[in-house]
C-alpha cells in the first residue's frame, strides 16, 4: 500500500511539474511575457523594471526555476485590477464557487441517481426513454445557453428569480440548474450502467433466489453497490464543477473563481488568469490522486495488480 501511494504521489508530482512547465512554456513562447504581465498603458520604466524582476535576460531554465519557486510559495503576483495578491483574491472567491458547486452537485445527484435506477430497473420503459432524452439534451445544450434561457423565462417573463448576483438562496437556483444539468446527465448514465451491471451479478441472483421481495433486492443489495462508482465520479466532478463554472458564473454574475477568471481576461489581468489555471489544475490532480488511493485502499486488487 505504501509503495502504491508513493508511486501515485510521484505521478501526481510529475503531472504538476509538467503542468507548470506547460504554462510557463506557453506564456514565454508566445512572445514577450512582459506585454502580458505589465499593466496596459504602463510606462517604459515600469516595463523595464518588470523585465529586471522577471530576469528575462537570464537563461530560460533559471527563469523557470524562479517561476516555480514563486508558485510553490503561493506567490502568484499581484492583480493589476484589484491591487491585492492573487492568491488572496482567489481564496476569497473560492467559498462562493464551492457553494455553487455543492448546490449543482446536489441537484445533479437528486435527479441523476433516481432516474438512473428507474431506467435500469425498467429497462426500455417510459422512464428509460425519458431519461435518455434528458441526458442527451443535458450533454448537448451549452450550459450558458441553458442559463440564458432560464433568465429569459424565470426572470424576464415570470419575474420569479433574480437574474444575477448572489446573497439569497433564490440566487443559487438558476446557476445550479444550468451547471448541474450536464452533470446530472453524466450521473444518470453512470448510475444506469452501474445498476445494470450489479443487477446481473451473482449475489443479486442469490438474493432473488432466497425469495427476497424485488424492492428489497434493489434497495438493499443492488443500490448500495451500484452507488460506489457514481459517488466517486461525483467527487471528481465536484472539483471539475468549480473549474468549469466560468461560463455559468459569467452569465449569472456569480462571484466565484470562474467569474474571477473572466474578469482576468476582460481586464487583461494576466496574473489572475495564470493563477486560476495553475490552482485549478493542481486541485484536479490532487483529487485524482485521492480517488486512486481511496480505490486502492478499498480494493486490494488494484494495488496488487501493478
Amino acid at each position: 500500500m505504501k509503495k502504491f501511494i508513493l508511486k501515485r504521489l510521484g505521478y501526481a508530482l510529475l503531472s504538476l511539474f509538467l503542468l507548470s512547465l506547460t504554462i510557463f512554456f506557453f506564456v514565454r513562447v508566445t512572445g514577450d511575457p512582459t506585454t502580458l504581465l505589465v499593466e496596459p498603458g504602463a510606462s517604459r520604466a515600469d516595463i523595464d523594471a518588470l523585465r529586471q524582476q522577471l530576469g528575462l535576460d537570464r537563461p530560460v531554465w533559471v527563469q523557470y526555476g524562479s517561476f516555480l519557486a514563486n508558485v510553490v510559495r503561493g506567490d502568484f503576483g499581484r492583480s493589476f485590477y484589484y491591487r491585492t495578491p492573487v492568491l488572496e483574491l482567489y481564496l476569497s472567491r473560492l467559498p462562493n464557487s464551492l457553494l455553487l458547486a455543492v448546490a449543482a452537485m446536489t441537484f445533479s445527484l437528486v435527479i441523476g441517481i433516481p432516474s438512473g435506477i428507474l431506467a435500469a430497473v425498467r429497462l426500455g420503459g417510459v422512464w428509460d426513454r425519458a431519461g435518455k432524452i434528458f441526458a442527451l439534451l443535458g450533454l448537448s445544450m451549452p450550459q450558458f445557453w441553458v442559463g440564458l434561457l432560464l433568465i429569459l423565462f424565470f426572470s424576464v417573463y415570470l419575474g420569479w428569480l433574480p437574474s444575477s448576483g448572489s446573497g439569497t438562496p433564490l440566487h443559487v437556483i438558476m446557476p445550479a440548474f444550468a451547471l448541474g444539468w450536464y452533470f446530472a446527465a453524466a450521473h444518470m448514465r453512470l448510475t444506469r450502467s452501474s445498476m445494470l451491471e450489479v443487477l446481473g451479478s451473482e449475489y443479486v441472483k442469490l438474493a432473488r433466489l432466497k425469495g427476497l421481495p424485488e424492492a428489497l433486492v434493489i434497495a438493499k443489495h443492488a443500490f448500495k453497490n451500484a452507488l460506489i462508482p457514481v459517488l466517486t465520479l461525483a467527487g471528481i466532478n465536484l472539483v471539475l464543477m468549480i473549474n468549469v463554472a466560468v461560463i455559468v458564473e459569467t452569465v449569472f454574475a456569480w462571484p466565484g473563481v470562474g467569474r474571477l477568471l473572466y474578469e482576468g481576461i476582460a481586464f487583461r489581468d494576466f496574473p489572475v488568469v495564470q493563477a486560476n489555471i495553475i490552482l485549478g489544475g493542481a486541485m484536479i490532480i490532487v483529487v485524482n490522486l485521492l480517488v486512486d488511493v481511496l480505490y486502492a485502499w478499498i480494493d486490494p486488487r488494484i494495488r496488487l495488480g501493478r
Binding site: M141, F144, L148
Partner: protein, 294 residues
C-alpha cells in the same frame, strides 16, 4: 410492385443497395443541411451579416407584432439581420469545429500510435504530457491559451487542437497496446517489416475507426467550446458572425425581452451538437459493439 421486385432479383447484376435501416437519418440530414448552408452562405443571405442599419435596431421576428418580412428572424442591437448572421455563423462553427477535430485527431492518433507501439521512453514522455494536460478542463485550458495569443479564427482552431489531441492519444494508445500482440503484427515483424511500415500499414488502419468515432463525439464538445470562448470574448473576434458571439450580444438585450437574439443562435448550437452526438453514439455502437453502453 411484386413483379418489379421479382424482376430485380432475377437480374444477373444488382445495384449495391445502401441499407439505411437503423441509421440516424435526422441527425445526418441536419448535419448535411448545415454543411450546405455553410458552403452556400453567400447565396442564401439577403443581407451583409456584418453591416446593419441603425434605424432597424431590435426588430422582432416577422411573425411577431412589430416585425417585418424584411427581417425574418429580426435584427440585433446594431440592426444586423439575425438570419444572415446565423447562416454565416454556421460557416464559422463548421470550419472551426471540423478543422479543430481533424487537427486534434491527426496529432493525437499519430502520437498515440507512436506511444503505444514504440513504448519505452517515448511512451512515458507522451503519456505523462497527456496526463498532465488532461488534468485541465478543456474549456479552462482553451481560455488560458486564448487569453495569451488573442482572438482570431485560426488561433481558435490551433488552440482547440492543442487542447483536445490528448483524448485521441489516450484511446489510440490503448488500442495499439492490444493490436501489438496480434498474430498478424508479430508475423509482420518476423517478415522483416520496419517499425514505420508496421505502424503505417498494420496498426493505423485498425485504429482509424476509433479515431473517427471519437472525432464525431468530440465535434460537439469542440463546437460548444468555441461558442463558449466567443461568448467570453476570447474566441472569434467581432464583428464576425459566430453563434457564441451572437449570444454574447444577445445577452445585452435579454432583460429587455429581446428573446430572439438568445433563442435562435442557441438553438443552432444545440441542433448541431445534438446531431453530432447522436451520430457519434451510433457510430460507436456500429464500429465497436463491445463498447456499446448497456
Amino acid at each position: 410492385m411484386t413483379n418489379g421486385r421479382a424482376a430485380t432479383l432475377t437480374l444477373p447484376w444488382r445495384l449495391p443497395r445502401l441499407n439505411l435501416r437503423g441509421w440516424p437519418l435526422i441527425p445526418i440530414c441536419i448535419l448535411i443541411a448545415m454543411a450546405l448552408i455553410a458552403i452556400f452562405a453567400e447565396f442564401l443571405t439577403p443581407y451583409n451579416p456584418e453591416i446593419g442599419a441603425l434605424g432597424d435596431r431590435f426588430r422582432p421576428p416577422a411573425w411577431v407584432a412589430g416585425g417585418s418580412d424584411k427581417h425574418l428572424l429580426g435584427t440585433d442591437h446594431l440592426g444586423r439581420d439575425v438570419l444572415s448572421r446565423l447562416i454565416f455563423g454556421t460557416r464559422v462553427s463548421m470550419i472551426v469545429g471540423f478543422m479543430a477535430v481533424i487537427f486534434a485527431g491527426v496529432v493525437g492518433t499519430v502520437l498515440g500510435i507512436l506511444s503505444g507501439y514504440l513504448g519505452g521512453w517515448v511512451d512515458q514522455v507522451i503519456m505523462r504530457i497527456t496526463d498532465s494536460w488532461l488534468a485541465l478542463p478543456g474549456l479552462t485550458f482553451a481560455i488560458f491559451l486564448a487569453a495569451i495569443v488573442g482572438p482570431s479564427v485560426s488561433n481558435i482552431v490551433i488552440i482547440l487542437a492543442l487542447v483536445f489531441w490528448t483524448r485521441y492519444a489516450r484511446v489510440v494508445r490503448g488500442e495499439v497496446l492490444s493490436l501489438r500482440e496480434r498474430d498478424y503484427v508479430r508475423l509482420a515483424v518476423v517478415a522483416g517489416c520496419s517499425k514505420w511500415t508496421i505502424m503505417r500499414k498494420h496498426i493505423l488502419p485498425n485504429v482509424v475507426n476509433s479515431a473517427i468515432v471519437l472525432a464525431t463525439l468530440q465535434l460537439g464538445v469542440v463546437i460548444v467550446t468555441e461558442a463558449s470562448l466567443s461568448f467570453l470574448g476570447v474566441g472569434v473576434p467581432p464583428p464576425q458572425p459566430a453563434w457564441g458571439l451572437m449570444l454574447a450580444d444577445g445577452k445585452k438585450g435579454l432583460m429587455a425581452g429581446y428573446w430572439w437574439l438568445t433563442v435562435f443562435p442557441g438553438t443552432c448550437i444545440a441542433l448541431l451538437v445534438l446531431s453530432a452526438n447522436l451520430i457519434g453514439d451510433w457510430l460507436r455502437v456500429k464500429f465497436d459493439p463491445q463498447l456499446r453502453q448497456l
